[in-house]
């Protein structure tokens, strides 16, 4: 563990042991008793490991974000940006809840969060590695192995989802070494309870995104509703609040530099066990090429939509989404430039290979050479797949492709269909095809396709047979005039049609999707072959890595895969540069400091007034002398951890995770303890805003809050 250079941090916090990296599966925590103790967590590891017990049974997912119950009546707290869609869909020019915030004073004022809003409560996690591996042999082709594994998984899921109240999944852990069946109760009536104004919940906007110092009150409250029988139900006025069997107690007692924290949520994806070659590929080839593509695509969209405010609005969220991925990709490129992570991994990899060879030189050589070969194939294929996506950069094509594939898959029995095209997936497909109308303009899609094809021509790796099937630039306009897919009803109608209808269609995009089918399937089958080989090699490799770490007395956590994880660490600052310390706290005075009156720094007048009058009450930190806003900790987080409960050593809610610092961005690849910091909103700021600014007394009253003595 690298140490801080600055004495202040040591002395103040009593030289806290910053936690090493780790997004732990809850069941692993009893192996980490010593680390939990060192950090200062007093809640027993066995209790934390039990998903049916407090506090883990209070932790939920909203599908892309993490959240937690904070009352026995299904009240859930998560990030403002996680509830943004719910706030936006209820807003209009007249009642702009984004700008003004929203507060339901009574339950009947709570607003529907939308048809696709969900709350997932993980209730069972079982190791099904054996079932997933059933019938899988070493001599199978990669594709056979892949299809067998997928078929086994589909069966496990189908069995699990017999009870319609549940959604099941079988994600792989340790890159295929283990598989767990995750059963989650899926609540589908979700309502908006309270959200502060955007200029509290998103103060600093895109400018402050990924940055510290931060002054964002990124929190909102939603509520889970179920049928009168207590089981998940479609949205209905007859539904009642879900009686959550567990919820987090809120502690307004505060925390200080060095204090231990626990964080539970659903981190999305990390790549901590990639090989040095994979890091170099990402750094030197994949990320730069993808960043260039995103930049070009944004430029195309903006040029095509320019001058038409309606078109601009339609693509605003598309551009925002690409921009967000772009900023992350650019941050990763910059992060790789700052720190030679590949070199660090080289060293670790060399040590590992040495250790493995020491055990059985011949076996090691076989494994490692197979591994390197498949990884090389994987990287090469990914460039062809990327080129295919650039050549077909059109929402109409994507829709047509999905629809044609659906028609073909529907010819098979449900259980044998490709994942994503089974009966359980139809509602998702329909939703996606329907929502397209909100973010589609023919002219813009035409520009994206035209420009994408031009860029594709310059890419090095073209999939075999694709070039001959691509339209010339001057043929594209005609394609857009010979399609009905831009019409939502027509688009949806194709969900019911069969292979013959597609073959006979003269819709230009349907025809193109049919023509490109074989090329697409060829890529998909090569992908299965490679993935199937990876499924064979990588688990052996990961098992060896785990054995190696075990020989050093270190447990190994699997890469994040959107499943429930626990991480722990300490409140702490960091040094982005020699001579500069950032964090660990910001305070309400910093809101005033940033307030320029220009978006995104327009603090609401009542907030500024409350700060000016120092109406801090019990939320005033005794050391800071004011109300803290955000703070940093050394917890190990990534995308998907948004909204995660940040708890004190006793498991009481003290904040919400919502971001990481810019310097943490390469943390998906390599966790650098010295500079990686997660950004949390302090519960005291949340409670203070609720009390002094938004007067959300009913919400405050519903929670169980421990105030400082």
């Amino acid at each position: 563990m690298k140490k801080f250079l600055f004495p202040a941090l040591f002395l103040v916090s009593g030289a806290p042991a910053l936690a090493d990296e780790g997004q732990w599966q809850p069941y692993q925590l009893p192996q980490l008793k010593a680390e939990l103790k060192k950090v200062g967590i007093t809640i027993p590891a066995e209790k934390l490991a039990d998903l049916s017990k407090h506090p883990m049974s209070a932790i939920v997912s909203t599908g892309g974000c993490s959240a937690s119950f904070v009352s026995p009546d299904g009240l859930i707290v998560t990030n403002h940006h996680c509830a943004y869609d719910a706030i936006q869909r209820n807003s209009s020019a007249k009642k702009n809840y984004i700008v003004d915030g929203f507060l339901a004073k009574t339950r009947d004022q709570e607003l529907p969060a939308g048809a696709s809003a969900r709350v997932y409560i993980t209730d069972k996690v079982d190791n099904v590695s054996k079932e997933v591996g059933e019938g899988v042999t070493a001599t199978m082709s990669g594709r056979e192995r892949r299809e067998r594994i997928q078929s086994n998984i589909k069966k496990i899921i189908a069995d699990c989802e017999q009870d319609k109240a549940y959604r099941c999944s079988v994600p792989s852990f340790h890159r295929g070494l283990e598989y767990y069946r995750i059963r989650q109760m899926m609540i589908r009536d979700v309502r908006l309870v309270y959200a502060p104004a955007d200029m509290i919940g998103n103060y600093g906007g895109d400018i402050d995104n990924f940055e510290w110092p931060r002054h964002t009150g990124d929190f909102s409250f939603i509520r889970a509703y179920v049928g009168k029988d207590g089981r998940p139900a479609d949205p209905s006025p007859d539904n009642v609040p879900y009686r959550s069997k567990d919820f987090l107690v809120v502690s307004a007692e505060g925390l200080k530099n060095g204090d231990p924290i626990l964080l539970a949520g659903y981190p999305g994806r990390t790549s901590r066990y990639k090989l040095p070659a994979e890091i170099r590929f990402a750094r030197d080839t994949d990320y730069p090429i993808r960043a260039a593509e995103m930049l070009a695509d944004i430029a195309t969209i903006e040029a095509a939509a320019k001058g038409n405010p309606d078109d601009e609005v339609r693509y605003a969220s598309v551009v925002k989404g690409i921009n967000n991925r772009l900023k992350k990709t650019q941050g990763l490129i910059a992060g790789f430039a700052r720190k030679d992570i590949a070199a660090i991994k080289d060293q670790q990899d060399a040590q590992f290979r040495l250790w493995l060879s020491g055990k059985d030189a011949k076996q090691a050589q076989t494994l490692l050479s197979q591994l390197d070969a498949v990884i090389a194939q994987d990287m090469a294929l990914s460039q062809e797949e990327f080129a295919y996506s650039v050549a077909t950069n059109s929402d109409l094509f994507s829709s047509a492709r999905t629809l044609y594939r659906l028609a073909l898959e529907k010819e098979k029995p449900n259980a044998q269909r490709e994942g994503g095209y089974q009966e359980r997936d139809l509602a998702f497909i329909k939703g996606r095809l329907t929502r397209l109308e909100q973010s589609f303009v023919s002219k813009v899609d035409q520009a994206r396709l035209t420009e994408g094809l031009a860029r594709y021509a310059k890419l090095p790796a073209h999939p075999a047979g694709l070039d001959a099937l691509l339209p010339t630039a001057d043929a594209i306009a005609a394609m857009f005039s010979k399609t009905q897919l831009h019409n939502t009803a027509q688009r949806l109608a194709w969900m019911e049609k069969d292979r013959a209808a597609f073959a006979q269609s003269d819709d230009a995009f349907i025809r193109w999707a049919v023509q490109l089918h074989d090329v697409g399937m060829s890529l998909e089958n090569r992908r299965k072959e490679i993935d199937g080989n990876l499924d064979f090699i990588i688990p052996q490799y990961m098992q060896a890595v785990i054995d190696w770490k075990k020989s050093q007395g270190k447990p190994v956590y699997p890469d994040a895969n959107s499943t429930l994880r626990v991480t722990f660490g300490n409140v702490g600052a960091y040094s982005p540069r020699n001579g500069v310390t950032k964090g660990p706290f910001t305070t309400v005075e910093g809101i005033v400091e940033k307030h320029t009156g220009l978006d995104p720094f327009i603090a609401p007048a009542p907030l500024l007034q409350a700060i000016k009058e120092q109406r801090f009450g019990v939320f005033k930190d005794p050391i800071l002398g004011t109300v803290p806003v955000d703070f940093l900790s050394s917890a190990d987080t990534t995308g998907g951890n948004s909204g995660s409960a940040v708890m004190n050593k006793r498991g009481e809610l003290i904040g919400l995770n919502f971001d990481s610092t810019y310097e943490s961005i390469t943390n998906d690849w390599y966790f650098d303890t010295a500079i990686t910091r997660a950004i949390h909103v302090d519960i005291r700021y949340m409670l203070w805003v609720m009390k002094e600014v938004d007067h959300a007394d009913n919400v405050l009253k519903e929670m169980t809050i421990k105030y400082p003595r």
Copy 2:
């Protein structure tokens, strides 16, 4: 006193009392015993007040910088940038001491620092307010008063300088309330002993100027030489090292966050007692107009010199000088924009006026209305003076003007001549007229005059009579062809000529200087009238301010005026923004972090090697775990404090002052305790570089160094 928001600082340092502002005259220190004690200084105030006693008798000036003796043989330590001229003048393409650094291994290898290099040792400071005020009455005109004061001062200086070993001055304190006669031994044989490489002494260059984090080893050693009789003498090989009666002991024992520090040196100029109207004038009118002028002048010079490397070199230091003033002016403009200092002063001023009116309403009204009126005249005249300087933006004109004035002044007895034109000043004038050849190109000077005249035309306040005497743009080329002043010998020859020779000359610039004389004198006389009125009003005002502060139990320090001052404070970080802490230390690892291999971040290879090998020895800080480079303190400094000794509580040398942070730039106008920080180089870095990088063992041996036990 505002407090830091960050708990770390309090707890670590045992909640140090950061010193309030104050550049104290040494005699004032016994009034500040409580403050010295609070900060932690153990050296008795009475001892610090006595310039003939240690440590103050070890503190010297080099004319623009501060310095101190560090051995009994006249060895002096100051900043690298203060010795830069000496390093440069001894450098050539073959022996580039700027790039490589310089070390005299023996005394006979020490190099002459240049004919104008000086060391001033303050030995007597006497209050001569009474003598300066002799014959001054309330009924005199301003000009009469000004001339009487100046005449009295000239007499005091002449008496004082009977002994040619001394240079005397009679600066005003508290804007004319008091005058002190400062007698300084002036040593004029100064030699370069040791300077590290520029990429240590000026690491970070202009990019890091005014900035933190800083990693500059801004130190060098020079030596004072005197005649064999121990008295100052012209440079000669026969001279011997000056036997300094006092010197500072060097402490390598280190210091830490919160530790007390003492700083002694010669701060140049501050404006802490200006009225709100003066601040607004500087902020809204004077600084913006001067910044625009400097920017334009730099552009003119660069355009005119472009393409001719020789011309560029000649103007490099001129441009650097303007740039430095420009950066400071821009920093002040930005600082005023960040913090409404005028509003703070308004409040203080209102309190003061209330207090004063409470004592004697009528008298207060008279004083304050007179004050406001004269200040208004002062500001208005300064704009005409500025316009005059823009209209005559030519080195040839400045030379001609000086020469003509000299001829006129020489008609008077020495004692009655205008200050700056007395016998004692002739060597300075000659030096300036001679040095011009190093930084003059006719073509560039012509461009500056031409463009200056064009800019002058657009300024609002034109001095009466000036416009008619200015050349038209197309007449300027002819002026430059009809002058010999660009020839140094010719220029110097004019020092001997009389009024008649000037009147008869057909040299274009001599003629122009003669023509403009009356306009210039008119400005000068109006200046004297206003200054003489200020000399009458301001002391009354300052006396009232002092009484007001006294009524609150606060002593008052005078604005800086290049005289010896003491300031004290604590090692400490600061918060430039909510959630960010800067300092208090940087370390050698930061040098590596900044090293890009591109100027100004090219750390010398031996330095990088020593860091890599962690050859830190006794210079390793026990808390930081490495060698500190620079550190911050709350001491009150300004330009002129460069090279000032930074001492620990016992008066031992622990560092050198060399800069302030960017946030401190408005500190010349208003000292903001929360964010003002001076930047010092840590003695441990200096000693470590001398030992491990430059092997300056002889210099180390000559000093008395206390190493950590």
